[in-house]
Amino acid sequence: MTETDRLSHYLCIGCPLGCRLEVEETDDDIIVRGFTCKRGKLYGRQEHTDPRRMVTTTIAVRGGRWPRLPVKTRDTVPKALVREVCAALRDLEVKAPVAIGTTVAANVLNTGVDIVAARDMPLA
């Protein structure tokens, strides 16, 4: 491994300071530099080793007050799966009424994470 292979860079999202974090992966450790606070250090490590995201999108809903239902992952999923999660939901359609928190797709892409309705969708 060359020096540059070992270094990754991240923009800290904790606050408007936007610290430029540098993460170095050594053989037995992960070193984070450039943070101003403890949260930054933790964020750098997390973002480097296992970046995760909540996914929010909409699905089709038939007979509701609006034609689209906002949904979200109940928990975070690996960042690399965000696009695939959305693609998996593209053709999903549910029928109104739908209550907030209802699971509309279970265990999406075998992540163990459910997709749930983010609002009530009453009948039109």
């Binding site: 089709a60 593209r90 053709d91 359609e93």
Partner: protein, 481 residues
């Protein structure tokens, strides 16, 4: 059977001619290349009815300006558009310009324009306290007025159609040849024969004339950029403010439009392309730097929208109106300022020319001059608003909040022929306010889709390729049922 008259071009001139000829027992058709009338030069017009003293006497423009001016009250009475004689002030900033004021006053008086008065600094300040305090004097012309030019087009065409005019939009004339009894117009949307063809094709009048084999003039585009200001500034000036004209320029005007919104402009730049409606950083800079000298309270920050229009300028700068070597083909070309003002007088003139050329114009006994007035919710008092809403709940649903336009008005506009967002905007003002359609766009689209029974994705801003929305991937089927 062919038509007696085919009018090529549905701008203010074509509409005014159609409305004039609708008084007679003839068969007439108006052919317009855009999807609605007034969508070319007319909709970008400053909307000023000139006082009658602006154009020199030795031109066609001069007498037609004043003759046209006097016809607007009658039109306004019969039709359904906003018009008010708010007057104008031609403002002098130094002593040298006092002569110019006198020159314009004398010209107007010799023509019979009433009420022209030179005001001194004190009078000007009392009347228009927000003008730059350095003003020396101004020529007041009470006969000047403002209209919404697109409203005028719609109203004229509605009236003409009610009285028998046939209207073909989305139809560009591509060739002209002979027919048994006159001329034949080939368009992108059908072929029409007529004894007489009136060429009022605005920016393209020279090309239409060429198609008829009488292309002995050319049209040049002169662009004017205009900037609309926030309603907050309503009342900043009460009259149209003209700087004293110089040899090179008419200067930048401050125009309280009929709706109260203040408009500043126009620039005047010759350009090559006849469809170049771009605004420019330079234009904006020029307008605002000049206008701030006239009315210091105006800032570029007040701008809510800008647009550009093209003046159709003929060689020699004057109007070209009259019959041609091609029998039955009549030109009404090069109609730049004061074309809007002159339009009703031009229409009268064209009727006279048709008579001289052999068309019999018998009055149509069934001619109805008035058009049904559209409800303008914002202009009603509260009791009338409540009554209107009680009769039709669509008048109790807001569509455009900035201009207070109800769904009832939008539906009326669609039923009167609006098919596009601009068509609705220019008929009702929905989308013309400070949020520029942020709130009403969806509502208007839904109403168009519902009334015309088309998918939302087929609703356009102004026809052609001006689509607004597209389907999500793979959703065509989902929305179809």
């Amino acid at each position: 059977m062919g038509y007696d008259v085919a009018i090529v071009g549905g701008g203010i001139i074509g509409c005014a001619i159609a409305r004039k000829l609708a008084r007679y027992r003839i068969r007439q058709i108006l052919i317009e290349k855009e999807c609605e009338v007034g969508f070319g030069t007319s909709k970008s017009n400053s909307g000023i009815i000139h006082a009658g003293h602006h154009s020199p006497a030795d031109t066609l423009k001069g007498p037609l300006e004043w003759a046209g001016n006097q016809l607007w009250d009658k039109l306004h009475e019969e039709l359904d558009f906003g018009f008010e004689r708010i007057g104008e002030l031609m403002v002098a900033w130094d002593d040298d310009q006092l002569d110019t004021l006198q020159h314009y006053r004398d010209r107007g008086e010799s023509r019979g324009v009433p009420g022209l008065e030179i005001w001194d600094r004190e009078q000007v300040r009392r009347a228009e306290p927000n003008l730059n305090r350095l003003v020396k004097a101004a020529l007041h012309a009470p006969t000047a007025g403002v209209v919404n030019p697109y409203e005028v087009c719609f109203s004229l065409i509605d009236s003409a159609r009610n009285n028998g005019l046939e209207l073909r939009t989305d139809s560009a004339v591509v060739a002209i040849d002979d027919s048994d009894d006159g001329l034949r117009l080939q368009t992108s949307n059908g072929t029409f024969a007529a004894r007489f063809v009136i060429n009022c094709a605005g920016m393209y009048a020279d090309r239409i004339a060429q198609m008829a084999g009488v292309g002995d003039f050319s049209i040049h585009a002169r662009k004017g950029e205009e900037y609309l200001l926030d309603k907050r500034l309503v009342g900043l000036v009460k009259r149209i403010i003209f700087p004293c004209p110089t040899a090179t320029s008419k200067g930048v005007l401050v125009i309280p439009t009929f709706d109260g919104t203040i408009m500043v402009g126009p620039t005047a730049n010759p350009i090559e392309a006849r469809d170049d409606l771009t605004t420019s950083a330079g234009g904006s800079e020029q307008i605002f730097s000049q206008v701030q000298q006239t009315v210091p309270g105006i800032s570029p920050r007040d701008c809510i929208a800008e647009f550009a229009g093209l003046r159709a300028v003929a060689d020699g700068e004057d109007f070209i109106i009259g019959p041609t070597a091609r029998r039955g083909f009549i030109n009404v070309a090069g109609i730049q300022s004061p074309g809007l003002t002159a339009a009703p007088a031009i229409a009268e003139m064209v009727a006279d020319i048709l008579r001289q050329e052999g068309l019999t114009l018998e009055p149509n006994p069934r001619f109805t001059p008035a058009v049904p007035k559209h409800v303008i919710f914002n202009d009603l008092d509260t009791a009338a608003q409540q009554q209107q809403a009680a009769n039709d709940p669509h008048f109790a649903r807001i569509c455009c909040r900035c201009e207070l336009v109800t769904e009832g008005e939008v539906l009326a506009a669609i039923r009167a022929g609006a098919e596009t967002l601009d068509g609705i905007k220019f008929r009702t003002r929905a989308g013309m306010g400070r949020c520029q359609g942020g709130f009403c766009t969806w509502r208007c689209m839904e109403l168009i889709a519902q009334e015309l029974d088309v998918p939302i994705t087929e609703v356009t801003k102004r026809g052609g390729d001006s689509w607004i929305l597209c389907e999500r991937d793979g959703q065509e089927a989902a929305h179809a049922d």
